[in-house]
Structure formats: C-alpha cells, structure tokens
Amino acid sequence: MTYISAIGTYLPRLRLSRSAIASAVGWLGGGSGGKGTRSLAFWDEDSITMGVEAARQCLAQGGADQTALRQLVFATTTPVFREPQNASFVHAALRLQADCLTQDAGGTARSGLLALHQALEQASPALVVAADMPVTLAASAAEARSGDGAAAVLVGAGQPLLSYLGGVSMAAPLVDRYQASGHEAGVEWEERWLREEGFMTLMPQAIAAALQRANLSPDAIDCLVMPCPIAGCAPAVLKAAGLAKARLAPTLAQETGDTGSGHALLMLAHALGGMKAGETILLAQLGQGATVLVVQAQEGIADFKTGLAAQLSHGLVEDNYLKLVMFRGQLAWDRGLRGRTAVNEALSTSYRYHEALLGFVGGRCRETGRVQFPPSRLSASGTGFHLDTLDPYPLADAGGKVATFTADRLAFSRHPPNCYGLVDFNGGGRLMMDFTDPDAAGLSGGDDVRFVFRIKDMDERTGYRRYFWKAVSAHPAPPTTSD
C-alpha cells in the first residue's frame, strides 16, 4: 500500500485585504464584499519559488531518504516558463539526485491532485509540488477570491502519515473557466452552472467511485477536503454524496483565498492539525472532471507538525491594492533609468555554476576548514595556497547572522529600499546577500536569518528571469492585524 509521509506548505507573507481591493475597484464591482484577506506573493516570488519553499518544508519533516526520490512533479496552472521545464528549477534548488524523473503538470487547478493520484498509484517514491500565482483581471471575482501559495507532498518515502486506500480521476470537458495561450488572464463562467453540473453532479459521482475503489461506505469518511469557491455548496456536496458523519475541512477563504493547484493540499495540511490516527479523509477537487483520493491517518499523525499554522499567523496585512497589480506587472510604472539595466542571461554561466546558484552549494576547505561562497579552485582561506581542496558545502539550510546591513534608497528595487548586506553563515563563510520580504528594512546587525529561494532579477523585455537565494529574518516581526 502506498502512502503520504510528509506535507509541506508555503504562503507568502503578504495578505492583501479584500477591503483594500474593494476600496480600489469596488466601484467596478470588485472586492467580493471586502471580507478577509488573500495571500499575495512578493515581487520576487512566483510559482517556482513558492513550490521550492513548500518542498523544502516537506522534505525537512524527516524520515525520508532524499536519495530514494526518483520522481518530482511540479503542478501549476501558472507556470513561469513554457520552456524550460519549471520542475527542473525546483529539482535543482532542492539538490535532489540527478537520477530523477522531473515533470511539469498543469492545465487545471486539479493538476496537484492528479499528480498526487498518479504518484500514489505507483511504487517508486515521488515528490509532488503544487503552486500557483494566478494573474487575474482587475475587479474580477477571481482577483478577490484567489490567493498565492504552494504545497508539497512526499509519497512512498519515510514513515506513513496517511495511507492511500484508493481513488479516482474522472475526466469531463466541463470548462467553467479558461485561459487561452497569449492571454494574460482567465475568463470564468457562471457559478450556478458550476455548482449544479460540477459540484452537485460530477463530484458526488467521483466520490462514489472513489469509495468503491477504497471499498468503503460513505459513512466511513470523517473529513472532506474539497476546495470550493461557491458559498454554501460544500455542505450540499457532503449531503449529496451521503457523507453522513464527515466534517468539512476549512477552505481558508478568509485567510489565503483559493491558491489553485496546491489548495486541496494546503487545506489537507490545515485539516491534519486536529486529526487522529484511523480517521479517513476524502481529498477532492474539481477541474475538467474530478479527482477524489481516499486516505487514512496513521500513527504518525500525532507527531505531525505543519508549518502552516505559523505561516497563517505571520501574515502581514497589506492595504495597498496597487501592490497586487504592480507585482504582477499589470501596471507600468516609472523605474527610473537605474531600473532599465538589461539582465545578461549568460545561460552557459548559469549552467556552469548551477549547483552554487540554484542549490546554494558553497565549499569547505579540507585543509583549513574554511567555508566559502561561491566555491573556487583556490580556497578563500586568507593565506596559503590551497588548490582544489574544497568539498561541496550546502548552505541553503545553514542560516546565518547579519554582519552588516543597509537599506539603500538609491539602488533600483521593485520594493524600495533595496536591502542587502554581509551575512555570516552559521558554520563559517560569508556573502553579501539580498534581504527580502516586505519588512526586510527592519533587519539589523546581529539578527538571525534563514535563506529562501527567490527571483534574483527579471528582464521584462525577454521574460527571462533567474533565481538565487536571499536572506529573511529567522524571527519575523509579530503579525499585523487588519482594521
């Protein structure tokens, strides 16, 4: 029997208040009544970076031998690149084995669950990463409803957290929304149609089929995890499917909004917080058909610690709607001449140093013990001649301390001031690094930092972007609350 052994999640820190959306575009009908918040990726986050962070958290839950991983699927409806493969960046950032089948999945918000279904139906250990950062039209219902976030699930490696009892994926050309190639944002159809034909018809059929595969009756189910944006619809599905004793997992609509391909997994991570061993869960999502997976909590559930609670509580409420449209590149703004510098792609350079740049692997000198980044043939030990004495030394999880800090108002930044400084790695070595996050300017010398995978820079003319690691506070400031 296959199983899920770990679940990681990632939410960007910003929570755009729907009242701010309503203030800005309510006159056009936007803002969806102005309740709660939606998660908002910072300017240097995208589906790849959020996916990496969720996967790091997932893999950090322990018990799994990363070298056993042979598959990585990256599911998103908002891929950064049509080409190259997005999963290859996630793979490199996680420093997984080269002998690994990497694959992008997409096309539907159900792609995360589809990838999970596939992983659970076969034997070799796999990592499923799902992340989305939808671009929506100003004042659309989707703008207020959606959120940015990611989740990752480890299958078949380490100790069972949730055993897989069976599942089904059904296809149907029910196109409730679409986004054609070359179009910036999607088009959505009427909710009532989706409710009746999708949630009230397709979904109960899929649930029944999944229960049959799992050889369970509807009343054996304790919890239904099902993203559903339509008010009052989920309880009706519960009833229509005959799930008599099942409770509904919270949708997180008021906190994050619908985070797309990772949302069912995000809701699952949240629901596992109060779960007991033996409880049975239906994991369900619509999207040109439906996927329903039946899983059962194992003994390990008692020790399961999701990072989601901390991610939810450390959000920073943002009341400036313009950050959404400007971060998404939907509004041209004056960057000044300093913001016009072209990004030199130098793809051969990127590849030559990909372990350093994407994996954040430095070097440690065998003769002096000194750590350095980037690695070099001659050790940066200060004195002596130490040739080819460096062993690879991963730094992504090392953390460090701020040695020097500046908040620079002259340098170009998409979220001024540009914050950077020297970071001393725990364990040795130092590097001048970018500090990111909305509250980066609050850092100062001596502060503990950890490292996150982010967009280094972007070239809007070509669409090219590259990634590197940045420092964020290891102890973020207390959360703010919305008025």
Partner: protein, 398 residues
Amino acid sequence: MASGIKDRVAVLSMGCSRFGERWDVGQEELMVEAYSEALTRAAIDPALIGAAWYSSHYDDIGAGKAGTPMAQALRLPDIGVTRVENFCAGGTEAFRGAVYAVASGAVDVALAMGVEKLKDTGFAGLPSASRGTFSPMYLPTHTNPGNFSQLAQSYAARHQIARTDLKRAMAHTSVKSHANAVDHPNAHLRKALTIDQVLNAPMVADPLGLFDCCPVSDGAACAIVTTPDIARALGRAPLVTIKAIQLVTSNGWEAQQPDWDGSYFHTARIAAKRAYQEAGISDPRTAIGLAELHDCFSITELVALEDLGLCDEGQAWRHMLDGWFDRDGRMPCQIDGGLKCFGHPVGASGLRMLYECWLQLSGQAGARQLASPHFALAHNLGGGPAQNVCSVALLGTC
C-alpha cells in the same frame, strides 16, 4: 627587500581640468584641458614623452576601451598608451604605471592621465559597473551609498559611538570640505553648507544623507613625471619627488570570511604601513603636512584617517569635531574640497589628489597654500569596504 621608488622619480608638472557637470565638453576636451595645463607648466616638447598611462573606468559612457581615445585626443607622439582601470583608484594606478616606467629607466618622461565623463548617463550617482556574467547572478544590486552606509554602522558599533555623535562628525567632515572649495575656481561644488543643512538632508542609505555623499563629476587630471636629474635640468625647484606608492587589492578575505568586522579598510592599513616604510616615515602624524583622502562619503574620510594612522582608532570622529582636519587644523584634509566638493570623476580622482599635493609641495597653491609642507599623502580607494583597491601615494620635497 625591494628598495622602493623613493626619490627615483620627480613630478615635472601636472594639470587638472575644471570639475563639475560639464555639459559643455566630452572626455576628449576634458583631457585636452588637463594636458595643455601640464604641458604649459612643464614647458617641454611633447615629443619627449616616452610612454603614457590612461585611466578611465566607464568605457561605455566615456571614451571607450584601450589607449586610443587618449592617444588621439592628445595627438601623442606615436608612443605606447596603456589603459588602466581599477575602480575609483584608477587615477593613482595610471600614475603608478608612469612612475614605474621612469624608475625602471625604460623612458625618461612619462604621462599619466585620468578622465571620466559621467554626466551623460541621465541620472545622479554612478552607473552600475560591468561585473561580468557570474557575480550579478548572486550579488545584490548595490550602490556605493549602500555599501558605505554599512561601514558607518559597523564603525559606530565597534567603537560604540552614539548615532548623533557620528552624524555630527560626518556633517563636520562635509562642512569642512565645502568651506575649502568655496573659493576654488575649478571645484564642482562651491557652496558653503551648515551642519544643520547636512544633518537635515534627505536620507540615501542610513545613516548617510545626501550631503554625506560626494557628487559624481566630469573631469580630467594628469601628471608628467621624469627623473630627478631631468627635472632639475629643466629648472624645477623645489623638486617634488615620489616618496612611495603602494596599492593593495582585496583578495576576497573581507567579503568571504567572517573575520573582518566591516568597520575599517583592511587594504588601507596594509598600504599605509608599506607606504610609510617605503618613504622612510616613522611618524606620519608629524611628518605629513596635508592629506587628500578618498572622501567619497563622509564616513570614508573618518575611517581612512584611522586606517592611515593619522589619528587613533575610534577617535577620528572626535578629532574631526575638534577641527584637527580643517584648513587651519593640525593636518588639513581635502584642502581643495576633496571628492566631496572638488568632485569625483572616477578615473581622474587619484590624479586630482596628487595635483593638489604637488601644488602645495611646490608652493603653487595660491590662496590655499599651506605653510611649507614637506610630505603630502594621497589616499585613493576603488570599490566598497568589503572588496576594494586601495592606494596610498606619498609625494615630498627633495
């Protein structure tokens, strides 16, 4: 142990253009301005010049690469022109090349020129320099105010200097340089400032406000150097010779290892020690009559004073407030206004500093003339505190 270059080369003459926002000229005219002054002062036939060094940093907005822009602008007599580039220390680097050429005996007369045409970028401050393909993939987008603000914070932390004290000392540093430049016809900024104006200026990178930063300027400066014998034969008196030139380049230790605390310049300390040794100076505080420091930011001047041993560690801010480095103080610094007010055309600055040193030592500084200095120091820095090129040059009367 090398014997060094003390007194083996003399300054025959120097020249310096007007610095500033020179919308009226390009780099070619700037070079001609400096060169024609030097040549007039030297009163020699240009055909005597045997080799030339040319410093310019921003080739994309300036004159272009290689030695040809200088050879063509100055119509040099079919000699070798070597283009050098070492961040903001390029001017001294060009001077070093010319001095070494004469000291080696390869040529009798050599020319060093620094020039930068910065005001064709369309914005304030320095343009970002080309850094190859790899390092932009991991280093932050940084500016010099950002880099040097870190120096200020680390300096204050190491010596436990209250922010208000440091801000006042930095303000005094700028106010002093503004006062020095007011009457200098070739200076970029010729307006006196008050301490309060500096303290209340807009913040650029905390704690550096606008008036803690030098301007970027258009300008050129040059030197013609020769052997002491030739200089004497041409009637130079007093003779100004090169006592020492030392240059140290960061090898990555400060930027890659946590041993350095960010509060000082590792390179400057080494360069200064070697320079004093080369010049045979045991007590720089009494021997040196004036210093031209690389005051790209007010904090740089304060920290350099300590690195060069011109005052005790952790005390520069206090002595600056006491007026030690004012025009009438113990050791006048930036008597011509420095980078802060005379201006900072990157590749020319080192030669501009040497120009003022030469004028003072040879008694040609006019209203700025100090009472008979015997040694003058030029401290030229390129790059940021964590990774830089630092030179210390000493000129003196012979």
